[in-house]
């Protein structure tokens, strides 16, 4: 039953000025779960988030938090249960970071908003949680983007919410700060049993941090499910209409398109030794073939996206005569051969023979 979920939406339709944009959204979240919205720009991720926070009125359906309909909660009640971290820049004047974090205590302070001892302690512990206590006397406008997001997260924590809504919290951060931010968030979710709904642009991070993923595209929710269900090559390419390049599900990253044309170079790889060479050839726009790779080899996962042709063998099987002959044929059509392997084993014994053949043909080229 839907009522068992901590946060759920039923037939929720959202949009601007009474015009529906996305219809019949269904979200079901337990305490301590992270839901991530992904999808192309302008697909309506922010619209959904704004509707959940009450900034936009729902056009139809309902959103319930802990069994209560959010639209019917008073502003004060909701403010104790829901905190936000938005893309909209917070406007501050002469406010230190500590002041900014302290604004999170607003729902708990008296009529004049004066902080008590307990409030101060909570501000301090929230700032320490995000490793930002040393920033407390700095002016909020004078800190870096990464620090700013951490301060805003501390502010949201201070509000002691049960649900946090974040709109693209990592968009302007560099990779170190992206990771730092999301690991702090993940820890908090684990410790405080928070429920998180956020939008992310970074698919690799979304895959790693989310318990549930919703793909937003067009009028309906295009797809929803666990990261394992969503982050497949087919789904992601269709969600974003990827035509140039592809999505590498094994690596969770985007790949540029493979160079087109007849393979000019044959790469003997395996066990991860070929990765760098594949990428380099791809960068230089040289079409290449590679083999013989086992299907459980990391090189295989990259090669299927980057090489014009991949000659492969079933996992855990020694390379067969058939695969070897195919590779040999392909190699003889290429003008150069690169061998990335230094040692060979039982399973890829025939790759050693390929190398010897290449040497014999005089096509072997030093490593790139």
């Amino acid at each position: 039953m839907a009522g068992d979920f901590f946060f759920y939406t039923d037939q929720m339709t959202v949009g601007y000025d009474g015009k529906p944009l996305i219809r019949k959204i269904k979200i079901e979240l337990n305490r301590g779960e992270i839901l991530t919205l992904i999808g192309p720009n302008g697909a309506g991720k922010s619209t959904i988030l704004k509707s959940i926070t009450g900034q936009l009125c729902l056009i139809d359906g309902k959103a319930c938090l802990d069994g209560q309909q959010m639209g019917k909660m008073s502003g004060k009640e909701l403010s104790k249960r829901l905190a936000v971290l938005l893309t909209e820049r917070m406007k501050t004047e002469l406010m230190t970071c500590e002041d900014v974090v302290a604004t999170g205590r607003y729902p708990y302070t008296g009529n004049l908003g004066i902080l008590g001892w307990e409030d101060r302690e909570k501000v301090e512990s929230a700032m320490k949680l995000v490793h930002a206590w040393d920033l407390k006397d700095r002016d909020f406008t004078a800190i870096s983007d990464g620090q700013r997001q951490r301060i805003l997260l501390a502010r949201a924590i201070c509000q002691e919410p049960e649900l946090i809504v974040l709109d693209e919290p990592t968009s302007f951060l560099d990779v170190k700060h992206k990771l730092e931010f999301l690991s702090i968030l993940k820890n908090m979710v684990r410790e405080k049993k928070l429920t998180v709904i956020m939008s992310l642009h970074e698919l690799d991070l979304a895959q790693k941090i989310s318990d549930q993923v919703i793909c937003v595209k067009g009028e309906w929710i295009w797809k929803s499910g666990t990261p394992e269900e969503i982050f497949t090559q087919d789904s992601i390419c269709r969600l974003y209409d990827i035509t140039a390049g592809s999505y590498n599900a094994a690596f969770g990253c985007a790949e540029l398109a493979a160079p087109q044309g007849e393979p000019q170079i044959f790469v003997i790889g395996g066990g991860g030794s070929g990765l760098m060479v594949y990428r380099k050839l791809q960068r230089q726009g040289i079409p290449f073939a590679t083999g013989v790779l086992h299907k459980n080899d990391v090189d295989y996962q990259a090669a299927i996206h980057l090489a014009s042709r991949v000659i492969s063998e079933e996992s855990f099987e020694p390379i067969s005569q058939f695969a070897y002959e195919q590779a040999l044929q392909q190699m003889s059509r290429c003008s150069q051969v690169i061998c990335c392997l230094d040692t060979f084993g039982t399973m890829n014994e025939r790759n050693r023979k390929l190398l010897e053949e290449a040497r014999r043909m005089g096509k072997l080229r030093e490593k790139l």
């Binding site: 900034q55 909701l78 403010s79 936000v84 004047e93 302070t109 009529n111 040393d134």
Partner: protein, 360 residues
């Protein structure tokens, strides 16, 4: 080796923490000092204002007069009937003006918003002039309440235009320019009306439309106090939502502020405050921008709970000082209060714009 390395940041942190404590303590001290100095200057200016004028009075005499032991009838009435009401109206209206400016700045998230710059004072002035002439032409005199009501109505007209423009363009320079244009239109209408008014009315009207704290009676002061003091108190009690609103509307809403009601309250309160100033003293320029800016920077905070009372005090000090100059510099000729406040206020507005250049 490793151990000593690990210890170092801890020490650094401890040092930083203690530095932070000092700073927090320093903040409290700064607030205390700022308010103390403001009160002291206010007191000094009050004494100085009573003291100066065409009739010289010694501090002893003033002391005696104030505590009801003055022997000289003329000095008595100069102090009681002319100087004190004027001082009190400068204090009350100056405070009202800068609090009104602070509210508008908060509303528009714009440090150079103020009742004068946005044309709100001029709108008030226009309607007050129309009402005055209408009443005078029928041989009636306008009472304070009617003037305040007229000024409030005029403020709301200008405010309406400013709001429409601000909905279409979200840029602070555009907002200010349109405010100035609105103010020109209103002034043109006012001048037009004044030109065609009866001669006898003009003297009265002309004085007022230039802006001055002169001619305030005790009954005027009572009306001002009845309007301005409770409204200012109300604004002070709204410090908490004001603080939340400063962060931006979406954040304020998430903190439980009813944005719709709060915006209406901000508009009404700031208009009431600036309307009472216009009704009693005519247009007074730039106080609403300069004082809040000075106060925020003196206190090094924008927290309304501190800034609102500081603005009231600061506005009182600023207007008392300017009125003192207006009365005394070219005595017996009086300057209009607006031209004195402009001399001190306008450079501050320019300073604000230069400092905020990047975000304009």
């Amino acid at each position: 080796m490793n151990q000593s390395r690990e210890e170092k940041p801890e020490k650094g942190e401890a040092a930083r923490a203690s530095l932070g404590e000092i700073k927090t303590k320093g903040r409290g001290r700064r607030y205390g000092a700022a308010f103390g100095i403001l009160l002291l200057i206010l007191l000094l200016l009050i004494v100085w204002n009573i003291n100066s004028g065409s009739v010289d009075l010694s501090p002893e005499e003033i002391f005696q007069i104030i505590f009801g032991r003055g022997r000289d009838e003329t000095s008595n009435s100069i102090v009681w009937q002319i100087r004190l009401p004027r001082i009190l109206s400068a204090v009350i209206l100056g405070g009202a003006l800068s609090v009104s400016g602070f509210l508008l700045q908060t509303f528009f998230h714009n440090p150079i918003a103020g009742p004068f710059v946005l044309g709100i004072s001029s709108g008030a002035k226009m309607v007050v002039a129309l009402v005055m002439i209408f009443l005078l032409s029928r041989g009636l005199t306008a009472n304070s309440w009617i003037l305040v009501a007229a000024a409030f109505f005029g403020s709301m007209i200008s405010m309406g235009f400013v709001l429409i423009i601000s909905k279409k363009v979200d840029k602070m320079s555009v907002l200010v320019i349109s405010g100035i244009m609105i103010s020109y239109i209103c002034s043109a209408v006012t001048d037009f009306v004044v030109t065609f008014a009866n001669d006898s009315d003009i003297v009265n009207l002309h004085n007022w439309s230039m802006g001055s704290f002169s001619g305030a009676s005790w009954s005027n002061v009572a009306v001002m106090a009845i309007i301005v003091l409770p409204v200012t108190l109300l604004v002070f009690l709204m410090s908490k939502p004001l603080g939340a609103y400063q962060l931006g509307e979406t954040y304020a809403q998430n903190l439980g502020v009813n944005i719709h009601l709060f915006r209406i309250a901000l508009i009404l309160l700031s208009s009431i405050l600036s309307a009472s100033v216009t009704a009693f003293a005519g247009p007074v320029s730039f106080v609403g921008i300069a004082v809040p800016y000075l106060m925020k920077n003196a206190l090094k905070t924008s927290k309304p709970i501190l800034v609102v009372p500081a603005c009231f005090l600061g506005g009182a000090v600023f207007c008392l000082f300017c009125d003192l100059l207006a009365r005394t510099v070219f005595a017996p000729t009086e300057l209009s209060i607006g031209s004195v406040t402009a001399v001190f206020g306008a450079p501050i507005v320019i300073l604000i714009m230069i400092r905020r250049r990047k975000t304009l």
